[in-house]
Symmetry: C2
Subunit: 334 residues, 2 copies
DNA sequence: CTGAAAGCGCTTACAG
DNA sequence: CTGAAAGCGCTTACAG
């Protein structure tokens, strides 16, 4: 079933059928009606490959997601999908490992499929610095700020990780905690955890606290499993801790389990705080105190900006969206 | 940059370049080497639209996932992706709402993109019965058994939900529980929960227990939030329960939170058991006793069967993969 | 082993 | 308002 069959069946020419299918104005009402009816009857849908080949400006927007198990990203993706499909665009979703090169992958996808825009859920600025110049279509990076890169076709929306982490530590400080442990991330590689660490230092200094990186920090990846192990290592080498700030909720969830397994209680022996605000933190026992990233804003601004910069020539924008410190049960006042 | 440019740059014809790109055997070593070098230099990738348009037998496999927040499906998807990309195939992933019609969506995708196979993560047999005949490419349904439908191009791999649920209840019975509550699913619509319910009834009868559907069952969707509410409703109307079996882990996690909020303890006042075996059940407090579905087997058999039936004409296969009852902390012996 | 040519299913100036 | 025709970037018989 091709457009040719529809032409034959309707008695009109190829061109007219195509015009009807593409909602061109210069076609008679009679033709439109008749052709649409045949299209319905046959359940015909134009072949996307042929269409894109011809149109040179394809409909699809590609989304690259770093980590398929990342609940924060699934949350954002779900919203992005709703908004994009509402605007009639097509979405092409691709998942990558947490530490693979999303920009190289985007370049590959660009050459193969010519999407008209890219949305990155998570991204490493180093990869962007090195490879992004090969990408000429409008793009948006979510959850990481790319202002310093200065690319003309790359916008970004993120949480102000530094300020958010600073507030987290301030909150712990206000609640009487002086011996803090930090788990998660990897300062040398990952800018996001680096920024959060920076905010942590700022609060530590501002409040006149001590911070011994050897004794109070354990890096780990963003998973419950690694959060569990990191918390154990940290507590093993530093038994004086009264609170642990995890750089991600899943890390925090793993840490709470580890603390419990060590015969300690959250929050009576050790308080725990997370970062992200994923749904399950509301149902954990105890409920997790965390910094909620505004996934709705992130998705909304991201999609709007991407769509706009596909339609018009616009300068890139780099914005922080609000975050919220959610006080729940996992932090105790000393 | 098209294949034409590569032809010009390398001094060979279009056809030869194409042959090199597609690894055809009948091309000289010299030509292959030279052309590949030019391709490398230019970072050229053939346009997928043109290729698929011409080849009529496209590379892509489409995966339809019901529910983007479903951790069981993300787990399976991650494995499916690894296996498929390892075999050099392309993957097209599309997410749907939990209750939207995946088969209609597949028909739409088929007409637009002509994938050479479909993989369904989750699926409603009613939708398959009504619409699947419009799909003529090899397909595999995961986590639900489609044997009764008898389609020649649809295989399926699933957990034997009935037996698994029966074992779950047996286990609760062996541990002294007689007053059971069940939450989750919706017998009238959803076959999977219907099968689990069937297994539950079987165990109940076999063990000579009582079961009053009004007082011992609360349907709900697969989310922590609904699990939370369902558990509350159930306990409110029936205070004698000693154990709750949730038809999904996320439901169970929500239920544990609800029980705790009611001032009760898991497992000392009420035992809780889940279904699925998602990773976070290992880190919840208490750790959740559950039925683990074998996502590795599901993904492996699913991908292998799909790939094979794309290459050869094979009769469909419908198999159950093993499951495992994981005994953890949320169930107490009475 | 290689080139010239047809054709995949569409869209869109160009005439009329 | 409509049709005939060119062409998007590829692949693959068909000759040689």
């Amino acid at each position: 079933m091709t457009i040719k069959d529809i032409a034959r069946l309707s008695g009109y020419s190829l061109g007219t059928v195509s015009r009807v299918l593409n909602n061109h104005p210069d076609v008679s009402e009679a033709a439109r009606k008749h052709i649409m009816q045949v299209v319905k009857e046959q359940g015909f849908e134009p072949n996307a490959n042929a269409r894109h080949l011809k149109m040179r400006q394809p409909r699809a927007i590609a989304v690259l997601v770093k980590g398929s198990q990342n609940m924060l990203f699934s949350d954002i993706l779900e919203r992005v999908q709703a908004k994009v499909s509402q605007s009639g665009e097509e979405l092409f979703v691709d998942y990558l490992d947490e530490d693979s090169n999303e920009v190289e992958q985007a370049v590959r996808i660009y050459r193969q499929r010519r999407p008209k825009g890219f949305m990155f859920l998570g991204g490493d600025l180093e990869f962007f610095r090195r490879y992004f110049s090969e990408l000429s279509v409008p793009s948006v990076l979510l959850t990481n700020n790319a202002a310093e890169l200065g690319f003309g076709n790359l916008s970004s929306f993120a949480t102000d990780d530094e300020r958010a982490a600073e507030e987290a530590i301030d909150y712990l400080y206000e609640n009487g905690h002086r011996q803090l442990g930090i788990i998660g991330g990897n300062l040398s590689v990952d800018q996001i955890s680096f920024r959060r660490l920076k905010g942590i230092y700022r609060s530590v200094q501002k409040n006149g606290m001590e911070f011994d990186r050897m004794l109070q920090y354990e890096p780990c990846r963003y998973s419950m499993e690694e959060g569990y192990e990191a918390a154990k290592r940290l507590i093993d080498k530093n038994s004086g801790l009264t609170a642990i700030f995890a750089l991600g909720d899943v890390i925090a969830l793993g840490a709470m389990r580890a603390i419990t397994d060590m015969g300690l209680s959250v929050p009576y022996d050790i308080s725990v705080m997370g970062f992200d605000g994923i749904a399950s933190t509301q149902y954990s026992i105890p409920r997790l105190t965390t910094i909620r990233q505004d996934t709705e804003q992130l998705a909304d601004k991201g999609v709007r900006t991407l769509l706009e910069s596909i339609s018009y020539e616009l300068p890139p924008v780099h914005e922080y969206v609000g975050f919220e410190l959610i006080k729940r049960e996992s932090v105790k006042a000393l």
